[in-house]
């Protein structure tokens, strides 16, 4: 297993585009998530009334345990950058025909897919580790409570966050394997959210029970936007097993479809 991951990393780590995109992802993610308080201060300076009406230090953006869900939900937006990296990594194997040579050289088709899946797992783990680290540091700086109970509350959402990233990269892997072209794959991945929305809106009248089972929708249900709680609304601050199961199910399906496609085709 580790050997397969090493093979895929060997392909990527001397690839400039990989470092550019991953650099872009991790730097923007880090800066964006860590600078929330600075952003609020900047708002306060720009609009003087803003700072007077509410004391920005009282906004619990980085307070334990709110910080976890706040950062996790916000970070989810950035996964599209990683997805572009996955599209390029996979479609390159088709355009360079290196998938063919890898098989000729003695990889099995299952091993090839596994090597790509393992890279997706690694990228997901690094994302989780980074957000956990940033959450911990910002929380320790800004949070008035440093009690263990509140630090440990909601950390189970990191499992959901891992699944969210891995789900999306698995989806991207499947699309790239099915389409085999970088440009079109990126467009499909970007548009899939919208296409699914059009479908779900249309069937919501007749078969509303089906809507939560749609892949992208299930992702939104897994980690709901936490900010409405500051407008005194109820939010789902627990991990819903059914949502988790649906997202995990889709993730398995995506990876199996990618494997089946590679297994069956002449390459």
């Amino acid at each position: 297993m580790l050997h397969l991951l090493q093979i895929d990393l060997k392909k990527l780590t001397s690839y400039r585009t990989f470092w550019v995109i991953c650099g872009l992802y991790f730097v923007t993610l880090a800066v964006a998530t860590a600078s929330g308080m600075e952003f609020l201060k900047w708002l306060a300076r720009m609009f003087e009334d803003f700072g007077q009406e509410i004391n920005i230090d009282r906004i619990p953006l980085y307070h334990f345990p709110d910080v976890w869900l706040n950062l996790i939900w916000f970070s989810g937006w950035f996964k599209i950058v990683l997805a572009i990296m996955v599209v390029i990594s996979v479609t390159n194997e088709y355009s360079y025909r290196t998938l063919r040579q890898n098989i000729i050289d003695g990889m099995s088709r299952a091993e090839f897919v596994t090597s790509k899946v393992l890279t997706n797992v690694l990228l997901s783990i690094i994302s989780v580790a980074m957000i956990f680290f940033i959450g911990l540091v910002t929380g320790l700086i800004y949070s008035p409570t440093q009690a263990y109970e509140s630090i440990l509350t909601d950390v189970d959402f990191f499992l959901a966050y891992f699944l969210e990233i891995f789900f999306f990269l698995s989806y991207t892997l499947m699309i790239s394997v099915l389409i085999q072209r970088a440009g079109l794959s990126i467009i499909v991945v970007l548009l899939s959210q919208m296409i699914e929305l059009i479908i779900t809106v249309n069937i919501n009248e007749d078969i509303p029970w089906l809507v939560p089972y749609f892949p992208m929708r299930s992702l939104w249900n897994l980690i709901e936007c936490p900010y409405p709680r500051y407008a005194f609304q109820e939010i789902k601050d627990y991990l819903d097993p059914l949502s988790f199961a649906i997202v995990a199910g889709w993730t398995i399906v995506f990876n199996l479809v990618a494997y089946r496609k590679i297994k069956k085709s002449d390459i």
Binding site: R16, T98, D105, G106, M107, E111, D266
Partner: protein, 296 residues
């Protein structure tokens, strides 16, 4: 001799196209086996099936008497159609990656680079290589795991005469080490120059298989006409004569290795025979090849 590869009833259809039909073939250890056939006759498709990238429609094959698996492919060096590498990686890095995939010792890398004379360009990106260098890197990569079997598909395609000569020298050098080589080519000349055995494919059908005739190997056929009664006898006396055929009043003399038409001309002249017609004909295997293709 040990059978390296045995193919039985191997068939591949792409939709309506019958790319390979019911091919049966055996390759023994130590042979340099030529797969000859015009473009589109199914050579690459056959090799693709043998190397696991094309799923056969029906039929089967065995490597070293075993059912094929990806583990067996690691012991075979193969280049199909074009050299394939990651363009943004250097030659060295590409080979390191291949060594990981083949699970072989990366210590072989300098050796194979030396063999194909790419050591001084190893740190340049693959995309900066010339076609000949790409072909040589592909051969280096195929040799990386010290395979006993090497598969080469049109290895001189698109090269200039010097590149062609280099690659052929390299193949001979490798064959001299006792490796089994399967060489697909549409160039008769190529098969004749380097192969010990050959098979001919025509529109996916195997129409001939056998040894490259030792008589015909590297030699010429000369067409002679002269106004003398006993031309047949004179020709038979010539040391370089291998066989004589009479066709439409002209004699077709196939020459032994090392004899040229000039030698025959000189011999005839010294024996008081002046040829009214003396033409060096196509080499015998080519004739054989064309006959096979026409007859099938």
């Amino acid at each position: 001799m040990e059978t390296v590869l045995s193919i039985s009833n191997l068939t591949k259809h792409f939709g309506k196209i019958k790319a390979v039909s019911n091919v049966n073939l055996q390759v023994k250890a130590g042979q340099v086996f030529g797969m000859l056939g015009p473009n589109g006759s199914g050579k690459t498709t056959t090799l693709g099936m043998l190397m696991g990238v094309v799923n056969p429609t029906s039929g089967s094959f065995k490597w070293f008497g075993e059912e094929p698996t990806h583990h067996i492919r690691k012991k075979i060096g193969a280049v199909l159609e074009h050299p394939i590498f990651y363009p943004y990686l250097s030659g060295q890095k590409n080979l390191e990656l291949n060594a990981m995939i083949k699970e072989c010792d990366p210590a072989n890398i300098p050796k194979v680079l030396e063999l194909v004379e790419l050591s001084d360009r190893k740190d340049d990106k693959y995309k900066t290589y010339s076609l000949g260098m790409k072909q040589r890197l592909a051969i280096a990569s195929a040799l990386l795991n010290e395979p006993t079997v090497l598969i080469l598909d049109e290895p001189t395609n698109g090269l200039d005469p010097m590149g062609i000569a280099e690659i052929r020298e390299l193949i001979k050098k490798i064959a001299a080490q006792g490796k089994t080589i399967i060489l697909a080519s549409h160039l008769l000349d190529e098969v004749q120059k380097v192969c010990t055995h050959f098979a001919v494919l025509k529109r996916g059908v195997l129409v001939h298989t056998g040894p490259v005739d030792d008589v015909g190997r590297g030699s010429e056929t000369v067409e002679v006409t002269a106004d003398v009664e006993n031309l047949n006898e004179v020709l038979l006396k010539f040391a370089g004569t291998s066989t004589i055929n009479r066709e439409d009043g002209t004699f077709q003399v196939s020459l032994r290795d090392g004899f040229r038409s000039q030698d025959l001309n000189k011999f005839l002249f010294e024996n008081g025979v002046i040829a009214s017609h003396l033409v060096t004909r196509k080499k015998s295997l080519e004739k054989q090849f064309l006959e096979i293709l026409a007859g099938a």
